[in-house]
């Protein structure tokens, strides 16, 4: 009981810390941070329910006024901006990724990598792109064009999520709550 609480709080903090890691700019000048890697890990390590709870906890503290979103953003204002769709997609992305790891019998690393791509990219973009289209009053095609700039970085992060989950499965099997 206590363990589930501390792990949810820990992964919420992990999402925050990965967003504070200095961002690297890709060639096109698109800033990428490891924040979405944190979202993927919440799902693949904690599983569907706890992963989504960890992301919701993180979003609650962002809304309450901690500057924890990548680039030092925070407050209620971020929920009125163009990235609102991605913020709504975050917990659902973690839930989906966790659900997939829980339901498959593939090796943990492989399952986590696939789950991170389906949840952390597929589901996340399915909410993020319409959200951006709505706030900026653009068509879905135009909004996806902007979002595609983040795709290479996110694929890389999904692969990393697979590696990290694999390492946890090997070295702390008890901590992999999604397969517990």
């Amino acid at each position: 009981m206590e363990r589930s609480l501390t792990h949810v709080a820990l992964f919420a903090a992990l999402v925050a810390v990965l967003g504070l890691v200095p961002q690297i700019s890709l060639a096109a000048g698109v800033p990428i941070t490891a924040q979405s890697l944190g979202i993927m890990l919440c799902g693949t390590v904690l599983g569907a329910r706890r992963g989504a709870l960890a992301v919701l906890l993180f979003l609650a503290l962002v809304a309450a006024g901690l500057p924890l979103l990548s680039g030092g953003r925070g407050g209620i204002g971020v929920f009125a901006g163009p990235s609102v769709g991605f913020l709504i997609g975050f917990p659902l992305a973690a839930f989906t990724a966790g659900w997939i790891v829980e339901r498959t019998t593939l090796a943990p690393g492989l399952a986590a990598g696939a789950a991170a791509i389906i949840g952390g990219i597929g589901v996340l973009y399915a909410f993020g792109i319409p959200g951006m289209a709505l706030v900026l009053q653009k068509s879905l095609g135009e909004a996806s064009f902007i979002a595609m700039a983040f795709l290479p970085g996110d694929v890389l992060k999904a692969v990393l999520a697979g590696f990290v989950t694999q390492a946890i499965a090997r070295m702390r099997p008890g901590a992999l709550l999604s397969r517990a």
Binding site: E2, G75, V164, I168
Partner: protein
Amino acid sequence: MLTLTSPVETPLHRLPAAAKLAALAVFTVVLFRLSSPAGLALALAVVVALHLPWGARFAAHAGRMMRPLWPFVAVVALWHLWVSDPRGGAVVVLRMAAAVAAANLVTMTTRLSDMLAVFEWLATPLARLIPPRRLALAFALMIRFIPQLSDRLRQIADAFRARSPRRPGWRVLVPATLAALDDADHAAEALRARGGTE
């Protein structure tokens, strides 16, 4: 840790947080009902006017919080000039700026603890799913884990640099996560030793 609440005390700080959030919700709904550039410009002017009486430092802080929005404003403005629809562009930009600025104003004038208290109150109908004490503990634990985790990440990155001329990059991620998981286990044991979370 630094919060986004403004250190400049304003009369707005003394209003109850729930009232400010309710007013923000109403304001945002009104913004999405307005569709004329003039009406939206007026709404934005009202928000800006609410910032001005509290001095330059407060206004500068608000300006910094709006910075992430500028690239989007620039993209939308250029696009609408390109398709020669300046009116449509003005509506999108003004509405987005007013909505974000108003929400930022609430954040800047509300202490973190007051905001969390409102969240805990809003979560009371879910008490069976999320017991209020566990929720409060989760907020506190997460806030405490953030500096703990960044220190851990820094230590491991320093140790890596001492051993290798390469940049640590993603290689520190696994050891940092494992160390953090052990810390979380210790915290769980400590909680259980003190009577658990119920």
